[in-house]
């Protein structure tokens, strides 16, 4: 079925978590009945604060798990472990995470060249009894750090690091440099320094503290996955007690992402091990932990991937239970809980949809409030569920929201196919054909552009370069007040619909901003430290670009395949439509031109007392989005069985 369903099921963001009081569950293992969806109304929006009456959908006991297509792991290396150089060339490190080496000698770097560099700050040694001059220099640098003179502290630390006389204090100096860079907002550069300290081994003096800094960095960067590689590398380290749960959660995420990547390359056995590992780690997190909900969600995803739906359901329900809104949470925690709760609702809906329990699926989709991050996807996916139970008016109404100008650029190509199928089902062949034409007009050029890109067989990094180029062009066009190239824009949006690629792209942009921001530290200009930081960041950027390139390539290829399938489905609908039209024309001829294809629906614009009726006149009001119901007005006089075949074929996720 939906293009987005498959990737999303497992590709869901693994973060975050809020909810309703007294949560009830519907569906596979619940005796409770879902609430009835309200009857179809005129092509209108109904603003409602209303609850809906209940219905009598069967509450079957267990989910036929096999019917659910687990999300294919489309994101190859989102957070794959940092590879060895050779593996980095391949882009994916699908080997087991290597434990940290017991001790790794770090070669002393050569002293920085003196020529052509700006004078650096030095500290006069003080003659203090009991302290060496070297120690005094380090303490002076620390004093600068404590005073908030970050530039000065960074330069001093850098100088100490590369002073051969200061070899015994080199590690401490590097630690100070890492901290200072963090305070300067150079998080990626700081990560580089702490990584080097960690690489020296567990017995290193600052090993444990550097591990803690990793967490702080992950909280500041746009994408916490930048530290996943490091987390995985030191999986056997003795993590500080207070970060243990976070560490286990991050490590579980690491294994989960790795499992998905392995699934993508068809290494199912290895992938299963990774998912198992992710599950084990998730289960080590106690309910009292703030990472518990996210861990259970992750666990649920692994069960889903393995096709064990009852287990997946239980995990998701537990997420919903523990993320009930509570005043005891900090705003940040409440936000995470709220997001995780929505993700769990989406997953519950998808599991029921996969089990063909469409009304339960709708119940859970309905739990996503308007305006939440998952809302659009919930609308789109619930359109399919509505279609399946014959609620065409609601299905088309949901698609109206998706076609609002604000969301028009969101990538839901399948929405047009669904629309065409519904019109076809209702014998409105002319409209169905027109919609398919619109689909082809809009997406055939995108398919061609994807075809061009994937045929070039470029290096992975070049794929990302193409996307980066599109982004730059679009930004330049926006600055110049011009419209961006629509096709390229669609290709970009499509690529960035992969959440891991989007995150990596954001990390690259963040890195580039960090590179740029060094200019805001004039005292560092032209220093060896600046050069070192530039080199460090460029190296990190190259690694991220390589990773992003692989993801982009896989994503573009996958989307090309899916578009090909959708275009094929479109052709099939066109063919079926033409056949049906011909049949009806023949019947009309035989009946002397009196036979009608369609019949008038009876409809009413009456709404409940707590709702208001507004006709849709082409304008989208924010508070109406998601409440539209379409007036189909006409349906088939005779429903042919042939119609069903087309609709089923167009809904691959319903398999």
């Amino acid at each position: 079925m939906f293009r987005s369903l498959r990737p999303l099921v497992l590709l869901l963001p693994l973060l975050i978590a809020g909810g309703a009081w007294g949560q009830t569950f519907q569906g596979l293992d619940s005796p409770q009945q879902p609430k009835k969806k309200k009857a179809a109304k005129k092509s209108s929006s109904t603003k409602s604060a209303a609850s809906k009456s209940s219905t009598t959908a069967p509450a079957s006991s267990t989910a036929p798990a096999t019917s659910v297509a687990p999300a294919s792991a489309t994101v190859p290396a989102a957070s794959a472990p940092a590879a060895t150089p050779a593996k980095a060339q391949e882009g994916l490190d699908l080997s087991s995470p290597t434990p940290a080496k017991a001790k790794q000698e770090m070669p002393m770097p050569p002293p920085p060249p003196k020529k052509g560099t700006a004078p650096t700050t030095t500290f006069e040694a003080l003659d203090v009894s009991g302290r060496t001059a070297d120690r005094q220099r380090l303490e002076a640098a620390n004093a600068s750090f404590n005073r908030g003179e970050n530039d000065k502290a960074a330069l001093a630390a850098w100088e100490l690091m590369y002073d051969p006389k200061m070899a015994p204090l080199q590690l401490e100096s590097q630690y100070l440099l890492g901290k200072t860079l963090y305070r300067m907002g150079q998080y990626h550069a700081a990560l580089g320094e702490f990584s080097q300290i960690l690489a020296r081994g567990k017995d290193t003096k600052f090993f444990s503290k550097s591990l803690e800094w990793l967490f702080f960095i992950s909280h500041k960067t746009v994408n916490e996955s930048v530290i996943l590689d490091e987390v995985a590398r030191y999986a056997n380290a003795d993590w500080p007690e207070r970060y243990r749960d976070e560490f286990h959660y991050l490590l579980a995420r690491y294994h989960f992402v790795r499992g998905r990547a392995l699934d993508t390359v068809e290494q199912k056995a290895e992938a299963a091990k990774s998912f198992e590992e992710a599950r084990k780690l998730a289960l080590t997190i106690p309910p009292s932990s703030r990472f518990y909900a996210q861990a259970r969600y992750l666990e649920g995803l692994t069960w889903f991937r393995d096709g064990k739906m009852p287990m997946a359901l239980e995990a998701m329900k537990e997420v919903v239970r523990v993320t009930r809104p509570s005043g005891n949470r900090t705003p940040a925690d409440a936000k995470v809980a709220d997001a995780t709760r929505d993700l769990a609702f989406m997953q519950l809906a998808r599991i029921h949809y996969g089990a063909r329990q469409n009304r339960y699926a709708l119940y859970y989709y309905g739990k996503i409030e308007r305006g939440k991050p998952q809302w659009l996807e919930a609308l789109f996916e619930s359109a399919w569920a509505n279609y399946r139970i014959g609620q065409y008016e609601q299905a088309l109404g949901n698609l109206i929201t998706l076609s609002s100008p604000f969301f028009r650029d969101e990538y839901f190509p399948e929405a047009l196919i669904l629309k065409a199928v519904i019109y076809y089902e209702n014998c409105r062949y002319a409209e169905s054909t027109a919609i398919i034409r619109e689909f082809e007009r809009r997406y055939k050029p995108v398919y061609d552009a994807l075809d061009d890109l994937t045929r070039k067989n470029m290096e992975a990094a070049d794929y990302y370069a193409v996307l980066a180029d599109i982004q730059k062009k679009n930004r330049a066009a926006a600055k110049a007040g011009q419209s961006p190239d629509i096709i390229l824009e669609r290709v970009l949006k499509l690529a960035l619909s992969d959440k891991d690629l989007k995150n990596t792209n954001e990390s690259i942009i963040e890195l580039e901003n960090e590179l740029e921001s060094e200019r805001s530290h004039p005292s560092l200009n032209n220093t060896d430290l600046a050069k070192h930081l530039q080199d460090l960041l460029k190296k990190q950027r190259s690694a991220l670009i390589q990773k992003a390139g692989l993801m982009a390539k896989a994503k573009l290829e996958q989307e090309q395949n899916e578009l090909r399938t959708l275009l094929g489905n479109g052709e099939r609908i066109k063919f079926e439509t033409t056949t049906k039209e011909k049949e009806f024309l023949e019947e009309q001829l035989q009946a002397g031109g009196r036979r009608a294809i369609v019949k008038q629906y009876k409809y009413s614009v009456a709404v409940n007392d707590d709702q208001l009726y507004w006709p849709f006149q082409g304008e989208f009001w924010r508070d109406e989005l998601g409440t539209y119901q379409y007036t189909l007005t006409k349906g088939c006089i005779e429903r042919k069985t042939g119609n069903k075949a087309v609709s089923d074929a167009s809904a691959p996720a319903a398999k």
Binding site: E139, N146, K179, K372, R622
Partner: protein
């Protein structure tokens, strides 16, 4: 001396030494997760998209008909037109002009000595009753902060916008002649006007507009003499306007 310096330096460095023992969590400061998204979707969605009607960078031409009210002496029926250019969706500049036909107000009474009070004739009132406006022109700045739709008994639905206007006005009126001289002369007065209006939108290029305006100007009144100079009073003239607006170009694109 040296010993004292050493002690002082040692004391000064003591906090530094302690500072090095701080935990990373202390040194890292606020480590709360940054807001990684650009705000809730519901706040990013504009209140209205896919407008059925927009005014920015469009001309509006509206033939109008105005009726004065709360008139003590003269009721005015003004036939005119308004031309507006809308710079943005909310700001515009309008030039309006209208020719007024006057009739004696129902409120006007004349009570000749020994006779019952009655409504005066036009000739009797000419030059004596203030507010005998002939022409009105104005340059109005328009601010339209509200755009909405209303449901009339859940049967009729209309889009509207609400706007405020204010600007200078020039009024030609019939002023009294010098004292004891019957009849009137045309005179011009400079004033200003302010008002509130609503447009009810029919389609992408036509709307029905209603306005309430207060035209404020200084008018020469009876009792003015050549020797003592004119006597003036400030008048507030209220108008209710109705107009049919046509917008050019007759289509628009949402920016």
């Amino acid at each position: 001396m040296n010993a004292r310096l050493v002690v002082l330096v040692a004391l000064a460095l003591a906090p530094v030494a302690r500072a090095q023992d701080l935990t990373p969590s202390t040194e890292a400061g606020d480590t709360a997760a940054v807001d990684r998204d650009i705000g809730p979707l519901k706040d990013r969605v504009p209140p209205v998209t896919g407008y059925t009607f927009l005014m920015a960078r469009r001309f509006e031409i509206a033939p109008t008909f105005s009726l004065s009210f709360r008139d003590a002496f003269w009721t005015k029926y003004v036939v005119g037109a308004t031309a507006t250019y809308h710079f943005t969706e909310t700001l515009g500049l309008a030039l309006r002009g209208g020719f007024a036909f006057t009739s004696v107000s129902g409120a006007a009474q004349i009570c000749p000595a020994g006779e019952a009070c009655r409504s005066p004739t036009k000739e009797e009132l000419d030059g004596k009753g203030p507010g005998q406006i002939k022409l009105i022109t104005a340059l109005d700045f328009e601010w339209a902060p509200l755009y909405g739709k209303i449901s009339l008994l859940a049967e009729g639905f209309a889009h509207f916008n609400l706007y405020l206007i204010a600007g200078p006005a020039a009024i030609q009126y019939k002023a009294p002649k010098d004292a004891n001289v019957p009849g009137s002369d045309s005179a011009w007065a400079v004033g200003g006007e302010a008002g509130l209006g609503m447009r009810f939108i029919f389609n992408r290029w036509m709307a029905l507009r209603f306005e309430l305006r207060d035209v404020i100007y200084r008018e020469k009144t009876v009792g003015a003499t050549e020797t003592t100079g004119a006597s003036y009073q400030v008048r507030n003239q209220l108008f209710f306007d109705i107009g049919l607006s046509f917008f050019f170009p007759n289509s628009f694109t949402e920016g």
